[in-house]
Subunit: 139 residues, 2 copies
Amino acid sequence: MAKNLDELRAVVRANGLRATPSRLAVLELVRASDAPVSHGDVADRLASQGWDRATIYRNLTDLAEVGLLRRTDVGDHVWRFEAVNAEHDAAHPHFVCTECGTVECMPQIELAIHRVKAPRAVKQRQVEVHVRGLCDACI
Amino acid sequence: MAKNLDELRAVVRANGLRATPSRLAVLELVRASDAPVSHGDVADRLASQGWDRATIYRNLTDLAEVGLLRRTDVGDHVWRFEAVNAEHDAAHPHFVCTECGTVECMPQIELAIHRVKAPRAVKQRQVEVHVRGLCDACI
DNA sequence: GGCTACTTGCAATACGGTTGCAGTTGCTTG
DNA sequence: CAAGCAACTGCAACCGTATTGCAAGTAGCC
């Protein structure tokens, strides 16, 4: 467990952030969750440790900004966060399950543009693509 | 124009709602928009006609409930509404500019799936597709 | 160890979304 | 056409998620 904290500390610092106790707690919790967690979830679960909601919020957004977490939403207009692991590369579409919140990478998906009238970024594929629906487990 | 109001009136009544002036104004505005419009947008644009925001909200949700409008979101946590009509029936991707927030319908875009391994919903195109990038004005 | 930039707690605000209640009105029916 | 009633509207308020300013506290660099 102490080793795990050192690892968290190292990774936070490697990403240019200070390894504060609250940040480590947030990162540990999100990494331990198997589904995306909301700010509210995290704040509730860390309330026993005395962290203020504003702090939790800032930590979540800071960690997301440096790429340790990913902010996502499942269509209910609540932002959720999940851990980003090493092999991740953002250059392909993502599928989000609107039921369980699972995010899957979809490199096998591509945009097909049937007519020329589209923004340049779209034509150049310089866009983020999010696909939202029910995964096979929830369908 | 009067004919157009009669048509709106008829369609609203045909869907079991009362054809009140505010409802007709809302439906007309949303039908005239070429991109999904938010509650706030509609309220602002109809403010000169004196309609209260609560009324606009209720009208939007009522019209969506009976199927004359479709509620949709483009990933920015603001609900938007678009008209449902014969040619606009199918759900289609929306492009949102990450800089200025402009939203565009993208019926000319379609998912191309290169390999069979994808969630069933994706293969059946039972998904919402959100495309995010810079529009031509912000690029 | 000192110092500085970053972080946190507190308190408040912002914003989209929603609702209760009393008065108004669309529309059905006689 | 008029009456009646359920649907609709304006007003005022509330809700939950998201976000921010400021002063005090602290991580970490030198």
